[in-house]
């Protein structure tokens, strides 16, 4: 019989254990399946991840586990594996999100013929998802760094995944070269910022007097100078320096300006399913750890038992400024793009800017709606971008082109695809009934509630600018004529499933599921505000 404590610990990492099993099954199945049946590995990975996402939703205990009795009430109970992870609602909402989207990405990978249907692709996606899932829950500097690297290193590999074709062909070779270039660029930028990030973490470890758990660090920084915390460094310059170093690492992962330079090139060159994964899962998990890290390490005064000093004002200002720069620059540069993947790259920079608004709003309001708005926005954003990229893959497969002008007549070639694309673009632009409207509304509300009205105003102005370039794509699809107007676009399996699921999610999250998701996100936000005492 295993003890209750061990059972709790194991349940908290059950999603990761199951994910590891799926990765191993995929690798083994690839060895034993005959060549013509290797596609099955994609289904194993994709459907396996769907199953794990549902199991996470139901089983993994937090404050409101749907099935199990043993809810974890106090923060000390939620900190498991020696404080490496915290099993709370924030972790759960982001885990469900990243695992489900990981499954969608695996299924998407099955339709991109440039990937050659290799099983390693699905295995590495699953392993990246393990990292993303742990990142959503990580509560220790060591765990955060390793989880972050698991996501990053997997994605460096996947970005350069397209090989030179066996049968020479100019277009295919071009795609392979661009993929290799994007993999290398991503790796160089990524390892560079990882070094900054790690340096920041070691400084924080040292300044806090030798803690690795982020909640203990926050406690030490808050109570600096009191008994037991005499050797905590509280000088402004070193702490600010450490905060900036860490922000470089997070800024790279969420592609915030000025750490965004890799984004357009990597998005354009990487295989499209990988681009989708970078823009959804990697970004969502990074936001999860960003809000958890900032709130725990540099906690606002009101949350601490003993507060001799508080540093939350710094990062609130920092992220408010980053938010303005990121959304403005992302939207302005998106206006001039000709390539659909580059357009989405700049649009995803802008979306990160909006979400940073929610991050900046966290510390000043205690209702938890800052974190809740970030969770809600990311939840709808991952489905929207997956939908968008699924359509782009089918379009590229049919036309061998990624230029927006070549999307002309898509509404006549495949009405359903054009409709799905329109839905995704409207959601990104923030127009009801798509989920993006609710997401933006919650973000703006959180900003206004925490006294950042000026930030919300800039956000609204930006949303108007963004509307233009989203609608241009819709116009090209529906109004412009092309020579191939009568050539239908084939929608192979399992794309009906991918597009159907994500389109349904985008519509439902904007209509019937607003209240359940929002109350879950608010519970997650409130969880975040409970620190150790």
């Amino acid at each position: 019989m295993i003890s209750a404590e061990l059972a709790n610990n194991l349940l908290a990492v059950a999603p990761e254990i199951l994910l590891t099993l799926v990765a191993l099954v995929v690798i083994l199945a690839d060895l034993y399946l005959p060549a013509e049946n290797k596609r099955i590995t994609g289904y194993i990975a994709g459907l396996g991840l769907f199953g794990i996402a549902i199991a996470t939703l139901i089983l993994v205990p937090a404050n409101q586990s749907l099935v199990l009795d043993n809810t974890l009430d106090t923060v000390e109970e939620q900190l498991l594996w020696g404080g490496m992870i915290r099993s709370d609602d924030l972790a759960r909402i982001f885990r469900v999100m990243v695992i489900f989207t990981g499954g969608l990405t695996c299924l998407m990978g099955m339709g991109d013929r440039r990937l050659n249907y290799k099983a390693e692709f699905y295995a590495i996606i699953v392993i990246a998802t393990i990292g993303a899932s742990l990142l959503s829950a990580a509560a220790d500097l060591v765990m955060i760094f390793i989880a972050l690297e698991t996501v990053s290193i997997s994605l460096y590999i996947l970005s350069g995944f397209i090989r030179l074709p066996v049968t020479p062909g100019q277009e295919a070779e071009q795609f392979a070269m661009r993929s290799a270039e994007s993999g290398l660029k991503y790796f160089l930028f990524g390892s560079f910022t990882s070094a900054f990030f790690l340096y920041g973490l070691t400084l924080i470890y040292g300044f806090s007097g030798g803690h690795t758990n982020i909640y203990e660090i926050g406690q030490a920084f808050g109570a600096a100078g009191t008994e037991g915390f005499e050797n905590v460094v509280t000088d402004t310059i070193p702490l600010l320096f450490a905060l900036l170093m860490v922000t470089v690492g997070f800024g790279f992962k969420i592609s915030a300006v000025p750490f965004h330079f890799w984004t357009p090139d990597v998005y354009e060159g990487a295989p499209t399913p990988v681009t989708s994964y970078i823009s959804t899962v990697s970004k969502a998990a990074s936001f999860a750890v960003l809000v958890r890290f900032m709130l725990a390490v540099f906690s606002p005064e009101e949350l601490l038992d003993v507060a001799t000093s508080s540093y939350s004002e710094w990062w609130v200002q920092l992220f408010a400024i980053l938010s303005v720069v990121t959304m403005t620059l992302g939207n302005l540069l998106a206006l001039v793009q000709r390539n659909i993947k580059r357009l989405i790259a700049y649009s995803s920079i802008a979306q990160a800017g909006y979400t940073l608004m929610g991050v900046a709003a966290i510390a000043t309001t205690q209702a938890g709606d800052g974190a809740a708005s970030v969770a809600f926005y990311m939840f709808m954003y991952v489905f929207t971008n997956t939908l968008l990229f699924a359509v782009v893959i089918l379009f590229t497969n049919a036309t061998n082109s990624e230029t927006i002008a070549d999307m002309a007549g898509l509404s006549r070639r495949s009405p359903w695809l054009a409709l799905a694309m329109t839905l995704a673009l409207l959601s990104l632009a923030g127009i009801p009934p798509a989920a993006g409207f609710v997401g933006k509304f919650l973000l703006f509300r959180a900003a206004v509630d925490s006294g950042l009205t000026w930030l919300a105003m800039i956000g609204v102005l930006n949303a108007i600018v963004a509307l233009y370039y989203y609608l241009v794509v819709v116009k090209v699809m529906y109004v412009d004529r092309s020579e191939d107007d009568d050539v239908p676009i084939n929608i192979p399996n399992p794309y009906p499933l991918v597009i159907g699921t994500s389109a349904a999610a985008v519509v439902l999250l904007g209509t019937f599921l607003i209240t359940p998701l929002n109350s879950w996100a608010e519970a997650a936000g409130l969880d975040l505000f409970r620190l150790i005492s």
Partner: protein
């Protein structure tokens, strides 16, 4: 000179280190070179044991032999046409000899006086250092055993430790997929 087992072990490890080191640069098969490099590094690990530095020896085996040399083997196997070296010597032999000679003289004239100053008996010095550490109980110092335990206990670092192994698996699979040619 009295023949102790320490001297015999030292001579054995010294021959192992230098002899394999020589084979590394003279073997014309790159693969063999790496295997000899591993033997040479193992000899160095043995020397560390003789110097009463077991932790350093373990790290030497784990990092240099376990990781770096194996990595070299992977790189050689995944790269085309580097298995053999047609030319063993290049034009810079004279320069290399001069550099080696200078380094050797530096070792001889800088390190030998230093060793004499300490007293030559490293084991004795180590014993003194350890005795001093025992006298000062408020100095935190972590033994290899504690380090090992921290990796495998539930309230230690077992989770990141296990995740690292998953990460390394992904990196290895990825390296092979990215580097290997597609089969037709």
């Amino acid at each position: 000179m009295e023949l102790t087992w320490e001297l015999v072990a030292f001579l054995g490890f010294a021959v192992m280190t230098l002899g394999s080191g020589l084979m590394v640069v003279t073997s014309s098969n790159l693969f063999h070179s790496v295997l000899f490099l591993m033997t040479s590094l193992f000899g160095v690990a043995g020397l560390f044991v003789l110097l009463v530095a077991p932790f350093l020896a373990a790290i030497q085996v784990l990092v240099y032999i376990g990781a770096i040399a194996v990595l070299m083997l992977f790189v050689i196997m995944l790269t085309r046409q580097v298995m053999s070296r047609p030319e063993l010597y290049n034009q810079q032999m004279a320069g290399a000899l001069v550099a080696a000679a200078i380094l050797f003289l530096a070792l001889l004239f800088v390190l030998t006086p230093l060793a004499d100053e300490i007293g030559g008996d490293v084991a004795q010095v180590n014993a003194e250092v350890i005795a001093e550490a025992d006298d000062a109980p408020d100095v935190d110092y972590i033994t290899v055993e504690e380090l090992g335990r921290a990796f495998v206990t539930r309230n230690g670092f077992v989770l990141p430790f296990e995740v690292t192994s998953i990460l390394l698996t992904a990196a290895m699979i990825g390296a092979i997929v990215v580097a290997r040619e597609d089969e037709a």
